[in-house]
């Protein structure tokens, strides 16, 4: 297995790494690096998905005026959705 030697690690950073090593249940420094890499990848994917979510929500809101204008009749959304689900409506 490859080995890395890291020089000049600041005292505060080392202290934080030791805390994380215990907190994340890592037996070795290699385990901690692996764990942190996975966490960073997950955070990065989540950030991208959150950006997509916001775009999707904005896109849906862009349909508001058309849906409101073209929705015929007095049927409420809840009544319409219950019909969709074949629920009984009052």
């Amino acid at each position: 297995m490859p080995t890395i030697l890291i020089k000049n690690v600041p005292e505060d950073t080392l202290k934080e790494l030791k805390r994380l090593k215990v907190e994340l249940g890592c037996e070795t420094w290699a385990d901690l690096l692996s764990e942190l890499t996975t966490s960073c990848e997950t955070a990065s994917v989540d950030a991208e998905q959150k950006r997509r979510m916001r775009k999707g929500a904005d896109g849906l809101m862009g349909l508001q005026s058309k849906v409101t204008a073209k929705w015929d009749g007095t049927t409420t959304v809840l009544e319409e959705m219950r019909r969709t689900k074949r629920h009984e409506t009052p």
Partner: protein
Amino acid sequence: MKPRSSLLTVDSNIIIAALRTTEPASSKCAKILANASEHFMLVEPSIIYQEVCGTLARKIDLETANIAKEQLDLLIEQKRLINCDKKTCISAFRLCAEYGIYAIDALYLNVALSNYAVLVSLDKEFIDKLNDRLPIEAFTVDNYPY
């Protein structure tokens, strides 16, 4: 207030109500969708596509339904879209008896329960039937705190 879960299951009626601004709860529904990404990732049953796009195709037009489909693709990550296959439906139908809820509502509840997600619906009747034994948070639009 921090939610107990990082996942949210939104009933299809929230999305449609958000789009029809003359609905009494429309602005609250729109806010739920707009703010969802702050705390949550969505986890949804695949039937949400048929409910949202089918309703829009019938009540508005096919073009609007197609646009909504594209936005749902963005809102819901593929891996968090739960297929309503035989296995899912078999695990959901017992919930109809347990909580006295309708078949499609049980699909939403099943997805929320299976993923320990927060559940929110416009349908108070549905949420009211889920009693305190529920191991997840379930809200109507009016008492949704996030």
